[in-house]
Amino acid sequence: MKCRVCRGPAIIDLPRHNANFCVEHFVQLCLRQVTKAIDDFGMVSTSDRVLVAVSGGKDSLAVWDILNELGYSADGLYIGLGIGEYSEHSKEFAERFAQEKGLILHVVSLRSDYDFDVPTAAKTTGRVPCSACGMSKRHIFDQFALENGYDVLVTGHNLDDEVAVLFGNTLRWDVGYLSRQLPVLDARGGFPKKVKPLVRLSEREMAAWCVVRDIEYIIEECPLASGNRHLAYKEVMNQIEERSPGTKASFYLGFLDNMAPLLRDEHAKDLDSIGTCSRCSAPTGAADSELCAFCRLQERASQVDPIPVDLLLKKRRRS
């Protein structure tokens, strides 16, 4: 197999591009795809103060590395979610990367700073762990970005993540969620600007980026994510992709070109119905003077003793 560009030995085959690439030209391809996403969607400029949501996984470390490589000034924020050893290991990878690259990594802990953790929140409220986790992360990343003067919050959502979410939203015809599924959400009433520079790159490409750049990341899956419906959607979409390379990119990018513009009114309606949390002042779908979903979660989960992740896993295995 030869590199499409230089005819040297290839290290990766990318069926959706009908091409193979050597290390140098694969790196160039990734940088070009991120640059195109940033330019096409007006994501970020070199004068912006950028905060990257860092998990210690391949996507967040890759996007941080790529932004750094492209000359953007980006700090990271890691949130300790209290998911036992998994959280400890994730943090080590995030800290090691920041140290090696000389980048600033802020660290927030759900348990130390908010008096609860994801296993306890999931058990106390009966929420699916991924739901309690996602909601807590979104709240803390948003608040931290605003309170610390960052212009843009970057997340490592890749093409496969967006395709899985789009697939799920389409299966349910969830017009509200569909209208918000954009690579850029502009700053508005209590939310920072949020962008996803990896939307043109697949999960496999991001893992490959980490291998060729010698970036160590947490490979284990979160123990609480097993059975997550997005994993099932990804599996289905990958079966289709193998039969018909390019399907995932055309599904998502075609949605942005053809469908998202038709949903603009729905998105605007969604913005009108936002209130303010009476405790933390974060935006909330609840009526004014009520608590936002995060404060309600914190209120309940912080009143009980911490529940170890192993206990939650045992219960899940039994059910």
């Binding site: 197999m1 290839a10 290290i11 990766i12 085959d13 069926p15 193979n20 998990s55 996984g57 391949k58 996507d59 991924c130 986790c133 996602g134 959502h157 496969d160 993540d161 899985a164 979410v165 697949s202 999960e203 496999r204 991001m206 893992a207 490959a208 291998v211 060729v212 010698d214 490979i219 284990e220 899956e221 979160c222 994510a225 097993s226 997550n228 997005h230 994993l231 990804k234 599996e235 990958n238 079966q239 992709e241 193998e242």
Partner: protein, 65 residues
């Protein structure tokens, strides 16, 4: 060859050379969802794996979105 699979971690031994594409197919693993790594280097689909190789098959899919 010695094959190290991740998530969960396990090892299997296989005899006889084959391509990456053939190996993944034999193990029922999606090419879209895995990378094959030998001595820290990625090996593409038609890359040849030999008996003396130790390789890692790394899943690339993660659940959190």
């Amino acid at each position: 060859m010695n094959v190290i699979l991740r998530n969960p971690n396990r090892e299997i031994s296989l005899s006889g050379g084959r391509t990456v594409r053939a190996l993944l197919q034999e193990l029922g693993l999606s090419r879209e969802a895995h990378l094959v790594i030998r001595n820290g280097q990625l090996v593409p689909g038609d890359g040849r794996l030999e008996d003396e190789d130790t390789i890692e098959i790394r899943p690339v899919i993660s659940g959190g979105v």
